[in-house]
Amino acid sequence: MSLNQLLIIVFILLIIWYLSFSASRLDRLHHRVETSWATLDTLLQKRAAIATEIIRESNLDPASAYLISSSARSARDAAISERSEAESVLSESLKMIQEIAYDESLELPSDLLVELSDVTAKIKLAISLHLEAVNAARNVRRKLIIRLFRLAGKAPEPVKFAFEDDVL
């Protein structure tokens, strides 16, 4: 076997190694996107549940109570494509609760309010972790070798959850 043939074999082996490395890297990133989304989803569900609970246990005026409970319901039932908009609406209406939280006459359940602000802080964190994961996965998917060999397979392109951070 000549040196040339040997070099070609080594080169092919290197390419195969790199392909397998890239594929497992991408797989790991997709996995990260999924778990970070699952975490975020759970927290958002929890927030909607707390919002509903707060309305049930307080004596808010019917109009604001309706606003919050309906936005909480639509956030819980929203399809994935409408999810971020529905959640942003809920954030807006929850902001109202936080503004009036100091009003003693309203008898807002304080333990639930504390829980709400806890969950809100966690949601912020979960959003940034999720965005990071999505960005990393997208960056790797854009690489030539990954597109050329279709290493992403049938996995859908990860989408950014367009959550307005400042409304939280």
Binding site: F21, R25, R28, L29, R32, T35, S36, A38, T39, T42, A121, K122, L125, A126, S128, L129, L131, E132, N135, A136, N139
Partner: protein, 386 residues
Amino acid sequence: MKKINIGMVCPYGWDTPGGVQTHIRELTQHLLDEGHQVSVFAPVTNEENISEEWLVNAGKPISIPVNGSVARVLFGPIASSRVKQWISQGNFDLLHLHEPAIPSLSLLACSAATGPMVGTFHVSSPKQKAIYAIGPILEPIVEKLTARIAVSELARQTLKDHFDTDAVVIPNGIESAQYVNANPTIHWRNPNTIGFIGRFAEPRKGLQVLIDALPIISRFIPDVRVLIAGPGDSDEFVKGLDIGLRNRLAFLGFLTDAEKVSFLKSVDVYVAPNTGGESFGIILTEALSAGTPVVASDIPAFQAVLEMGEAGFLFKNEDSADLAKQIIKLLRDKELQSKLSANGKLSSQKYDWQVVADQILSVYEMAMAGNQKVGLTSEGRFWNRR
């Protein structure tokens, strides 16, 4: 939150003093106090210096000159297999890797492990670029981290520049109770005393800026004195200084942690004239927490800690005249001093470990949401599957 088993990796020699080591020690202590299990894996130069039972010795570190000082790091095949051994025996719920982009234990652990991993990035100095230059090789490894923490906005920016990824900013923590309840030392407690801590011989610590400001200050405040704490050759430093100026300086040498706390409580004003290269400025938060008014150069890290001048005075970096002006203004006005002291104490509360460790724990919680445990990458390879 349920109690978890954390594996923490320190990239630098455990028995050499340093910010990262202190951070890890205090965080570990706090996590243990809350009932979690922690094992810290770090290079150790001399086994006899180690008293912590939760520390696992990774071997002797190698000294590498970085950024004007020496970094004691550890890598290589032996270290790599020790990391794997530690991970496989630890049965950890989560790994917390400090400085995972520095070629040392954290990087090895990041490359060897799978599962929930949190990385904390401490550096921000652009001079470290040489060590970050291997970015494209490190990227696939560093992106395995489930969550990233940067200790300051600057460290986050450095991370963004080098790896195209974002991080959550959680500041360094301090034991604020220790500073609030500290007792001043009588012979340091003279009127109009300025304090400085740091390796004063290093130009970037900026002691020269303070010394150049002294002649102006002494014209307005005749009994002003400067107490300088920190390792270094003081005879070498004062050589060539005017004798009148020299008498205003007192070199205390290296202070122990307890002495440092008392020092910060004793001086009338703490001055941090650093000219650059600071990522966070933990010493400022410590001085603030002791209730000592702070005057610092307006480098970005200090601006952030002093909240743009709300919690302490800022002067134009490397401008001795401006520094003198700020110090004179402060020393002459007792009311201003107590107002600044109160503001500082208030703003330093967010750096207390109680607050900081809670933030870190919620990042842990977030990282562990996948319900996986920490394992080794090699276990997943088909020739190792059972």
